[in-house]
């Protein structure tokens, strides 16, 4: 099933783990290079920036191939009976062949292979969409093809395609096909999230799970987000207006409003509590983000105070929580602690903060001469220059 040689994939993972041992200063760089040279591995780009760069280049390549194909087939386009979806299917085939070729040449998580794996899926789903004009078919195709690509190319983002496909299928079945009354949609999605989480717990015990650890992590995070979003008040209310045509008049509220309000806050709090109990970073981060969104939800409907008061108060409360946590955990040596983990990098946090602060500044900047109309036109022109 996998497009890669199992041994090579195993070695690639092992060297990656050895690298994290080196980062934690458990082994010396020399030892790490010895390990790295010992094992034959797949060609991979662990650095996210380099990988993004290759992703960009791969997109240029894919689109230039598409352009060349379009040129060759252009005489056909003028014929009245020509079905242009054929071209889309052909693009998908090109993407598939590209994925296979790259996998044959041992490119794994390199950026280039991601383009072709995701590109052929995008082309295929577009083609299916045009030829069937049916949302349900496209979503089911996303679920199946996404899963298969994830399994074959050990590609994490394909798992996201599959998950969107599956949950989309359930949604469409309820909204468009009225499988059950639409009012129950939030609860069905909550159940689906629970089901996905259960699938995660089953799959992670599988011995193949080692290769798909990132895809499984994605499955876990997706199910947590889905579980929260399904019953978030803002999401439910806006979507019931949008999809189900329920109009909320002043003085009224959506059905089960109280339940949704409660869950909007209970779920994030539950996630954070579980995170601390299970020592799970996935739960912690999703919980914190969800909590922030819950506050936004309340502010969206009720402005209890002006924005500046809310910001100042929020800042004070948040710094209180953070300082409390720091002082509580400061002297703990094991378990839950404030001591930096040897395996994580502290510097990257500091650089990230230095960049974000820069985007928050609002300094008065001076006008030296009379401003001319000179926008970013030149720059976007440069972008066009790059693609042809």
């Amino acid at each position: 099933m996998k497009a890669y040689h199992k041994k090579l994939l195993e070695n690639t993972f092992l060297v990656e783990e050895a690298k994290s041992l080196r980062n934690g200063k458990f082994i010396s760089p020399d030892q790490y290079f010895k390990i790295k040279n010992q094992y034959e591995q797949l060609k991979t780009q662990p650095n996210i920036l380099v990988r993004a760069g290759f992703f960009l280049l791969g997109m240029l390549l894919y689109s230039s191939i598409a352009g060349a194909v379009a040129l060759f087939t252009s005489p056909l386009w003028d014929r009245g009976d020509f079905d242009f979806t054929v071209i889309l299917y052909f693009y998908a085939v090109i993407g598939f062949v590209g994925s296979e070729l790259l996998a044959k040449n041992n490119f794994y998580n390199y950026g280039l292979d991601d383009v072709f794996v995701l590109g052929f899926q995008a082309m295929l789903f577009t083609a299916i969409g045009f030829s069937t004009e049916n949302k349900l078919v496209v979503l089911i195709a996303m679920g199946i093809v996404g899963t298969l690509s994830c399994l074959r190319y050990v590609n994490t983002l394909s798992a996201l395609v599959a998950l969107v496909g599956f949950s989309g299928t359930v949604t469409i079945l309820i909204i468009d096909y009225h499988l059950i009354p639409t009012a129950f949609l939030p609860f069905v999605m909550l159940l689906l999230a629970g089901f996905l989480y259960w699938v995660f717990t089953v799959l992670k015990r599988n011995k193949e799970a080692y290769f798909y650890q990132y895809a499984l992590q994605l499955l876990q995070i997706f199910s947590l987000f889905l579980g929260y979003a399904a019953v978030n008040y803002l999401v439910v209310r806006e979507l019931s207006g949008e999809l189900l045509g329920i109009e909320v008049k002043p003085g009224e509220d959506i059905p089960f409003a109280f339940l949704f309000y409660a869950l909007t806050f209970l779920i994030p709090v539950g996630y954070v509590a579980l995170a601390l109990k299970k020592k799970s970073r996935e739960f912690l981060i999703v919980g914190l983000l969800a909590f922030a969104f819950s506050i936004f939800t309340i502010r969206y409907y009720y402005s209890l105070m002006s924005i500046e008061t809310a910001l100042i108060l929020g800042g004070i409360v948040l710094s209180g929580i953070a300082c409390f946590g720091i002082f509580r955990l400061k002297h703990k040596e094991n378990g839950l602690t404030f001591k930096p983990d040897r395996n994580t990098n502290k510097n990257s946090l500091m650089y990230a903060q230095a960049i974000i602060i820069n985007s928050q500044l609002n300094l008065p900047h001076t006008q030296t001469e009379d401003p001319m109309q000179f926008g970013g036109g030149g720059f976007s022109g440069g972008g066009a220059g790059a693609s042809f």
């Binding site: 030892q31 760069g53 004070i316 948040l318 710094s319 953070a322 001591k339 994580t344 609002n362 000179f374």
Partner: protein
């Protein structure tokens, strides 16, 4: 699922790639079952500082010309002084090398003090207009640099550099870059490039004289993006060869520098900017040669061109990584 560190270490031990002692180290550390909230808690604190200072900024500008504004200004001044007072009290004093507070919380106090004084200066200028906005920005920058060097704070350094850029009329924030509203007029391209060169010179000087060497990356990152975006935007201009020259000089310098410091973030962006610049030049040449005549053959050749570039990029990355292994201790 993921193998535990102990399992990995066991496997490496079995293959005789690590020693027994190292294996025991890993095992001992893993048995502590550390779940560190270090980064998460500090990031929350950072977020709190941002929320608070943003709120304070809005509060002041909303109450301009009302009775309360002197009170708010006084409060702001008090908050700033208190923050600075405690920062000084707990700091280890100036050092030419990397230093830190014993408690990392104080880094965020320094940050809020710097931001608050920036708000104070900005408001003072807005209300009384005695300094001129360029001078006000410079003053903010000065506070930023002083805090950065005294307390060893990278975020304050970032504020300082942005302040200098603002003083000469460039808004060097990521949003401005994204929206392409980097400059108000073409003369600023030259200022931008000049500022970039100044930053490089300062970084080189600091490195030679052992003055906060770990700030070099911040300076170089600003300089790289400032110079390269100035040049690329300028290449739409009539005098594009001048900018092309500047760009190629910058690319050569930063390419070498990234190899020397093993900075991947600089290396990748140098290649990106260089590649965009090269394509703009190629495009201009094709335009001059009236490419519409052989447009079709260009379209067919383009995949070959991209495959060729991908091969070159793969080679240069391999080279970069090889050097990385050699240079490590």
């Amino acid at each position: 699922m993921k193998k535990s560190k102990v399992q990995v270490a066991q496997q490496l031990l079995d293959e005789n790639l690590i020693s027994e002692k190292e294996f025991v180290n890993v095992k001992a550390y893993e048995s502590l079952k550390i779940f560190s909230l270090h980064n998460e808690l500090l990031f929350l604190l950072y977020l709190a500082v941002l929320l608070f200072t943003t709120g304070a900024g809005i509060l002041i500008y909303d109450h301009i010309d009302t009775i309360g504004h002197t009170v708010i200004m006084a409060l702001l001044l008090i908050a700033t002084s208190v923050s600075f007072y405690f920062s000084f009290k707990y700091s280890n004093g100036f050092s030419r090398n990397e230093t830190d507070f014993e408690n990392p919380v104080f880094n965020y106090l320094v940050l809020s003090a710097t931001l608050l004084s920036g708000i104070f200066i900005g408001y003072f200028e807005f209300q009384y207009q005695v300094l001129g906005s360029a001078f006000a920005a410079l003053l903010t920058a000065l506070v930023g640099f002083a805090s950065a060097y005294y307390f060893d704070n990278r975020s304050a350094l970032s504020i300082g550099i942005t302040g200098v850029a603002a003083a000469i009329g460039i808004s060097a924030t990521p949003q401005a870059l994204m929206h392409g509203e980097f400059y108000d007029n073409p003369a600023l391209f030259y200022y931008g490039i000049a500022l970039g060169i100044l930053l490089i010179l300062w970084a080189e000087y600091s490195e030679k004289n052992d003055l906060k060497k770990h700030f070099t990356m911040v300076f170089l990152t600003f300089a790289l993006h400032l110079i390269c975006i100035c040049c690329l935007t300028g290449m739409a201009d009539d005098y594009w060869p001048v900018y092309a020259l500047f760009l190629s000089a910058a690319v050569v310098y930063f390419y070498r520098k990234s190899h020397k410091t093993q900075a991947v973030s600089i290396f990748v962006f140098v290649l990106l900017y260089g590649y965009i610049g090269l394509n703009i030049i190629l495009f201009k040449m094709l335009q001059a040669a009236d490419s519409s005549a052989f447009f079709e053959s260009l379209l067919i050749l383009s995949p070959v061109y991209f495959i060729g570039s991908i091969f070159l990029f793969i080679r240069s990355i391999k080279q970069f990584n090889r050097k990385k292994y050699e240079s490590l201790p």
